[in-house]
């Protein structure tokens, strides 16, 4: 009976339902035990309204950490919703350094918006559970603009496009010099929502053949093919001559580039197409410039684009010369760290490693405003088939074949619109087919979340590098006859200086200051010390010794040592460091 009783007890214990373990707080990137407070599917992209809605959901869930600011309106009247994220319980956000992050300045480069949303989501989900995130949000803020170009995004989602179209904003523009605006854009001949390619069957008269292994693939006929011709002509992208001027698709919606519109090293249309008639011509760009220029606390910038897997910095044009060496060291440190965090991404200089860009956004924020700024080109198609070398010489050699292999084997062929016959007003019977707009420049659904996470964490690393200043315990020396010397060390523990070398050289913004304030305290002389062991090596202030002005600021992970010579009856004084790109630092010091 005893045994039976024991067995029953065991059975009863086993039968008792386990108490459900509550989900852990936060969502750090671990796959079990956590449940986010705001569930967002990170395996798809969202149109402009949905992006706004996602950010609004986050703001509603964390109203004390995130608020909306109406930055302005796009050409078509869509709101430019800026989201300011930070913890005001530790002081007003205006007093703290801020990081600007935007995306989707090019309407077709859609994943930039999701990258901004993911960054906000990650910061908020982990704002209470992760001490590093919590600390970051207490000492800094983020200015987040998911869509610089909501018109372009909306059109890319809604209208027929290819992977590269709808890059522009929506201001009607005369691209073909005929006095008419946007009258000859692409035409979706088969109505499938994608602007693909057109080909025409011309047996024995064509320039292309079908690949015998894959008839979807068009192969150019080599010029020396013993006089043999192809059976097909490739006619270019879907469309016809809407305005009857003999040209096809030459004047679609907009036709400009908002990332050629910023003031530093801006060049006009005839030097760089798409630049517009003057910098910041379009309302989206002007609204952003006015905001950033009025926020001197912005100390870091990221502007997401696609694609290519790049961590880009300026200069955008060779003519600028080189960036300041001290700033390049900061760039290099962050860029190299980014390469580790972002496999398949390379840290690059825009003009040297990519191409020349005059008037780019992140070149303006550095060259014009002195802010350490990056553009990440999201998604590298190397990720489709990481071991490229293995296919370089085999049947999958060549970019297009590799892409098709990926499409066939990992997307079940969903990325390619198979050729289908349509009637063309000029060419007659043609076939239309090719890649969908959501292939090539954007990752497939199952690789989106990784891209977003890694880039968000790179942003956080960049934000972590924004200056943080403290004042060490001052040393007071009594020199006799009522004269005292106060040695002060002001330290910046982060990688980015309080004033970049560019800001110092170009006299951008206000200088830092270190001041000594106290009742009945008179500062007779003061200066910046050049040598910690030799007090006579000091660069004395010419005027107003109680307030030392520092054009160079406090270096990244560095310090500035100053000495005040003072006298007076005052028994206490306060040392202040003040600057634009970090919270003010103060330390009270007894003068007894």
């Amino acid at each position: 009976m005893m045994i039976d009783a024991f067995a029953c007890a065991l059975l009863a214990l086993a039968a008792r339902p386990q108490e459900a373990r509550p989900p852990l707080q936060g969502f750090p990137g671990l796959p079990t035990g956590y449940r986010p407070r705001v569930e967002i599917a990170w395996n798809r992209f969202y149109d402009d309204v949905e992006i706004d809605s996602l950010m609004a959901r986050l703001a509603a869930q964390w109203p004390k950490l995130m608020r909306e600011h109406a930055l302005g309106s796009s050409v078509e009247g869509r709101p430019l919703r800026l989201w300011i994220l930070g913890d005001e319980s530790s002081g007003p956000l205006e007093d703290k350094p801020a990081m600007w992050v935007d995306g989707n300045i090019h309407g077709n480069e859609v994943q930039g918006a999701e990258a901004v949303v993911y960054l906000a989501w990650y910061l908020l989900e982990n704002s209470e559970s992760n001490p590093e995130v919590a600390a970051l949000l207490k000492r800094a803020s983020f200015h987040l603009l998911p869509m610089v170009n909501p018109d372009g995004r909306a059109r890319w989602f809604k209208d027929a496009h290819n992977a590269s179209s709808s890059r522009t904003g929506a201001m009607p523009t005369d691209d073909d010099d005929d006095g008419r605006l946007d009258e000859d854009g692409p035409n979706d001949l088969d109505g499938d929502g994608h602007i693909a390619q057109m080909r025409k069957h011309m047996p024995g008269q064509g320039t292309h053949r079908l690949d015998p292994d894959d008839p979807r693939v068009m192969i150019p006929v080599p010029p020396n093919d013993e006089g043999r011709r192809g059976d097909w002509i490739l006619l270019g992208s879907e469309g016809f001559d809407d305005d009857g001027d003999g040209r096809v698709d030459e004047d679609g919606v907009g036709g400009y580039d908002m990332n050629r519109a910023w003031p530093s090293m801006w060049e006009p249309e005839h030097v760089q197409r798409g630049a517009g008639p003057y910098p910041l011509h379009w309302p989206e760009t002007r609204a952003i410039a006015e905001w950033i220029a009025a926020k001197p606390g912005i100390a870091a910038v990221q502007s997401f684009h696609n694609m290519g897997g790049m961590i880009l910095r300026g200069p955008g044009a060779e003519g600028f010369g080189s960036y300041e060496p001290a700033d390049v060291r900061v760039y290099d440190e962050l860029g190299r760290e980014g390469e580790l965090m972002l496999p398949f991404y390379r840290y690059m200089v825009i003009w040297k490693d990519l191409y020349t860009v005059y008037g780019g956004f992140v070149t303006w924020t550095y060259e014009g405003l002195g802010i350490i700024s990056f553009t990440n080109e999201l998604w590298n198609d190397d990720q489709m088939h990481p071991e490229r070398s293995k296919v370089a010489s085999g049947p999958l050699a060549g970019g297009d074949k590799q892409r098709r292999w990926f499409d066939d084997n990992l997307l079940s062929g969903a990325g390619f619109v198979d050729w289908r016959p349509v009637d063309h007003p000029v060419h007659g019977a043609v076939e239309v087919g090719g890649w969908r707009k959501d292939t090539g420049r954007v990752p497939p659904s199952f690789l989106i979340e990784e891209m977003l996470h890694r880039n968000a964490l790179f942003c956080i690393a960049h934000a972590e590098a924004m200056p943080e200043v403290s004042i060490e315990e001052p040393q007071l020396l009594d020199l006799g006859d009522g004269l005292k010397a106060l040695d002060v060390v002001v330290r910046n523990k982060r990688a980015i200086p309080t004033r970049t070398a560019q800001a110092a050289k170009r006299r951008i913004g206000l200088m830092d200051s270190i001041s000594l304030e106290g009742k009945d305290v008179e500062v007779l002389a003061a200066g910046v010390r050049g040598d910690r062991f030799r007090p006579d090596r000091i660069e004395l202030a010419e005027r107003e010794p109680a307030v030392l002005r520092l054009e160079q600021g406090i270096p990244g992970r560095g310090e500035v040592r100053v000495r005040f010579y003072l006298r007076g009856e005052g028994r206490r004084a306060t040392i202040w460091w003040r600057g634009e790109k970090a919270r003010d630092a103060r330390r009270d010091v007894p003068l007894d």
Binding site: A317, R507, V547
Partner: protein, 552 residues
Amino acid sequence: MTPFLALFLLLPPQSPVPDAASGALLDQRELQAACARLASEHPREATILPLVESAAGRRVDIVRIARGELKPGRPAVLVVAGLDGPLAWTSDVALEAARGLLASKDANTRRMLAQATLYIVPRADPDACEARFAVPLAETRAIARGGDDDRDGAEGEDAPGDVDGDGLVLRMRVPDPDGEWLVDPRDPRAMRRRDASKGEIGTHRLMPEGRDGDRDELAGEDPLLDVVLNRNFPQGWREHDLESGAWPTSLRESRALCDFVLAHPEIVAVVAYGELDNCAERPKVRDEWPRRSPSPSEGIPAEDADAMALLVKRSSVKFTGRSAGSDAGTFQAWVQSQRGLWSFNANLWSMPLDAEAPKVEGAPEPPPDLPEPGDDAKRLRWIDREKESSRFVPWRAFQHPDLGRVEVGGFAPYALVEPPQADRARIAVEQERFLAALLAELPRPRVARFAAKDLGAGLLEVELELRNDALLATRSRMARRTGGVRPLRVRLDLPSEATRLAGPAEAQVDLDGSGGKAELTWLVRGVDAEDLVVEIEGPQFVATRVEMEQAR
């Protein structure tokens, strides 16, 4: 003469509201009244269009002068005055010239005003120009805050000002063996910069009249306002220069001017009365035009420069001004180098530099080894000769509250940039003549030949020849380079049953000046020759349909 008398002579009477025709300087209120009067006197031709309101709430208006119907493509000339703050007087010139054109009985002038439009911005920078009428009087250019000029942590703490209370903001000179200036031995009133290459030693510091608020032994080195309107345009804009502003068109006036030009593609030419000049001499030419490289800072193609110089010559107006300063960030540079418009820049008056000293009976001859007089000494010679003594305030000792003993004096504000009153009327008449000459030479494309040859079997060879008899090309070479002006568009309009077998569906055409021509050929069938119609359209050309019958 006392400084107070000088001030009296330089300031215009404030009431009653003077007419521009009187030659008086017009303040903002008077200018608006003068514009309104012009519009009321010529209600069918003159219309006031608001352009923008300045930061200080002053209106920038445009006076549109046009006789007859305002069809799209009707060519236009934009005249901009009051663009550089010190040149408030040019507003009167622009208005007077317009008034003269409107009143002209000359048949050609009347015909031109029926075919073309004049847009006149009499005062592009009312905030800076209004300083011309303020007391104390200070020559003013900047209209917006820029930053901390002297990097001392304070902004605008050391602005120029009237320290001695004479109503004028002049210059101060302080004896200083380390100074960069010395007294011109030819004229003790004049200062000139020492020439270190000749071993000259300075004797003075020279600075604007003002307090030394920050005790740095400098005065007037940190004014509150830094940004200058005519440094705030995109071409050659100088980043990080406080005068230039945060970005090109950061000022509402500059942006409004740019937007106006962009919104009016019918503007063929711009006449800017400012500190730049390309009329007195042939405009600078640039020979090398590398493709896709940063836009050059100055110079235009030789063909454009030749046409402009010829037009100035034909106007028989004698331009004598000199460019003062760089064209970086100016409106003139933008319209010329980026928009490619014909850009006539006229600095309507520069004080002459008299080489010879006026002869004074009984005065001793100067020693032969004296160095050549500096420019200021030459200006003083002109002042003496013309008996314009109010333009110079003699140096006088003054106990400065911050700097101790200094001398205050020098050229009176605006003295170097404003012509004598009598000259202003003459200049206005000359500008009326120049504008008439310009209007007469605006491009005039015409169909010189439109003919069809019957090739048989219903096949027609259609030929079109377009010509431009005016001096100015339909697009300057600069515009062709920059794309700032689009070309003429020519289309053969065929009935639906006809077929175009050869020839462009639509041609884009440029016509050089002085008889420049373009020829187009089509091969068509299914249409009778008399039913052929050609359509010509351009931003600066009223759209025209010419029928074959008409052309014959």
